[in-house]
C-alpha cells in the first residue's frame, strides 16, 4: 500500500477520495448548522439581556459577550475541548459546536442588539398601549422587525463562521481540511490539488448558504423594509 500510494496522481486521487471529502463537507454543514443555531439562540438572549435587562443583567451580558469576542476561536476550541472532555465524554463535533457556538453568540448578539435598538420606540409604546405585556411586545413586535433588519449583517456572520469550522480540525473534527491533510499525508504530496479542492468545497457551501439567505430576505421582504442594495 505504502509504495503504490506514491503512484497516485492528481485526478485519480480526487476520484478515489471524493467520498471522504464529501463526508467532510457534510460534517462542515453539521457543525455550522449546529454552532450558528446555538449562536442564534444564545445571541438573541444576550441581546435581549443587554437591551432590556436591569443594570446587573445587562452588565453580565456585556461581559460574556466581551470575553467571548476577545478570545481567538482556536484558543476557545482548545479551552472548551480540554475543559469539557475532562468532565464528560464528548465527541469533537459536539465540542466544536459548543465552542464555535459560544463565540458566534457573542458576535450575533451585537448584530441583534443593533437591530433591536434600530426599532423606533413608538412601536414599543403602541404595543404596550394596546395592553401587550413587555414580553409579548418583544416577541410579537420588536423581534420580527429587528430580525428582518439584520438578515444582511447576519449573512456576513454566516459567511465568516462557516469557514471557521475549518479551525475545528485542530481538535480532531473530521471536517474537510483534516480529511484533506490525511489524503496529502498518505499520498505523499498533492498539497496544492487537495487544498484547492478543500477551498472549492468551502466556497460552494458559503455561496449556497448566501443564496438561501438572500432568498429568505426576499421572502420576508415587506414594504417599508429596504432590500439589499436599496432595490425595491
Amino acid at each position: 500500500m505504502e509504495n503504490c500510494c506514491s503512484y497516485y496522481y492528481n485526478m485519480d486521487i480526487l476520484i478515489k477520495e471524493y467520498k471522504s471529502l464529501l463526508t467532510g463537507a457534510l460534517i462542515v454543514l453539521e457543525v455550522a448548522t449546529g454552532h450558528l443555531t446555538l449562536g442564534f439562540v444564545i445571541g438573541l438572549l444576550l441581546a435581549a439581556m443587554q437591551v432590556y435587562g436591569n443594570r446587573f443583567i445587562s452588565f453580565t451580558a456585556i461581559t460574556i459577550q466581551k470575553v467571548l469576542r476577545g478570545i481567538p476561536a482556536l484558543v476557545l476550541l482548545m479551552l472548551v475541548y480540554f475543559g469539557l472532555t475532562s468532565l464528560i465524554d464528548m465527541s469533537p463535533v459536539v465540542v466544536a459546536i459548543i465552542a464555535l457556538g459560544l463565540r458566534s453568540s457573542a458576535y450575533q448578539s451585537q448584530v441583534f442588539r443593533g437591530g433591536i435598538q434600530a426599532i423606533e420606540s413608538g412601536q414599543r409604546e403602541a404595543a404596550l398601549s394596546i395592553g401587550m405585556s413587555r414580553l409579548m411586545t418583544i416577541r410579537l413586535i420588536i423581534f420580527p422587525q429587528a430580525l428582518r433588519l439584520v438578515i444582511g449583517p447576519w449573512t456576513n456572520i454566516f459567511t465568516m463562521e462557516v469557514k471557521d469550522v475549518s479551525l475545528a480540525y485542530s481538535i480532531g473534527v473530521l471536517e474537510l481540511l483534516r480529511r484533506g491533510r490525511f489524503i496529502i499525508r498518505y499520498t505523499h504530496g498533492n498539497a496544492m490539488l487537495i487544498y484547492c479542492t478543500v477551498a472549492v468545497f468551502y466556497f460552494i457551501i458559503v455561496r449556497i448558504g448566501n443564496t438561501l439567505l438572500y432568498r429568505l430576505e426576499d421572502k420576508l421582504l415587506i414594504p417599508g423594509f429596504e432590500r439589499r442594495g436599496g432595490k425595491k
Binding site: E120, G122, Q123, E125, A126, A127, L128, S129, I130, G131, M132, S133, M136, L140, I141, P144, Q145, R148, I222, P223, G224, F225
Partner: protein
Amino acid sequence: MAGKLLIVENIHKSYGDLEVLKGISLELGKGERKVIIGPSGTGKSTLLRCINQLTPSDKGKVWLDGVEVTDPKVQINRIRQQVGMVFQHFNLFIHLTALENVSIGLTKVKGLPKKEARQKAMDALQQVGLADKVNSYPAELSGGQQQRVGIARSVALNPKLILFDEPTSALDPELIGEVLNAMIKLAKAGMTMLLVTHEMGFARSICNEIIFMENGKIVEKGPSQQFFSNPKHKRTQQFLHKITELYGEGR
C-alpha cells in the same frame, strides 16, 4: 368619585431636574370629550402618557372606572386594554398589514379566536373607511390612512376611553379632514375622548370642555363655547389668538 370614568389627581412628573407636570387634576365622565391645548413643551403629551402609565408618574393618582391605575400592584396591561391611544406619528406595526395591526390586539391580548378577531378588525377598518386597504402594509398607506388604521386599532379593543396625542399634527393639510371625520364619527357614537390637538374648529364643535395648559399647569378650563368666546386669562387669549391665526377655525 361616582360617575366619573377618569379621575386624574395632582399628577407630577419630572425628567431629571425638569418638572414637566406640576400637579395636574382633571375628570372625565362617561361619554365626555375634553381637549387639552397649550404651547409645545408644556407637558400635554406627558400627561396623556401618565394616564395609561406609558410614562410612570412620580406623584399623584389616576383612576379609571374606579380602579387606581397608579397603584403599583395593579395589572397595568389589563388597564391599557381599556384605554385606547392614538399617536401623533401613528406608530402602526410596520411588519403587519392594516388588518393584522387591528386584529393582533384582539387575538394576542384579548384571546379572541382568529376568525372572530378578523371580523371585528374588518368592521373597525370599515368604520374608518378603509375596507379596501385591509391587506396593505403601513408603508403603502398615506399618513391619513395610517392614522385611521391607528384609530381602528384602538376602537377594535372596545376601550372605555381613547387618548389622542396630536393625531393630525404630522399630516399634510389635505389629509387632516379624513382623520377628523373618523374622530367625529367616533364622538357621535358616544366614545369618551381626551385629546391633545391644535384643531380648534374640531375642538369647539365636538368637545365639552377645553383645558389650557402651560408650563406643566392647567391655566384655565371651561366649556368649549364659553372658552373660545370669553377666555379669562390674558395668556389664554394670546394663545387662542395665535393658534387661530395659524390654523384657522374653519374645520
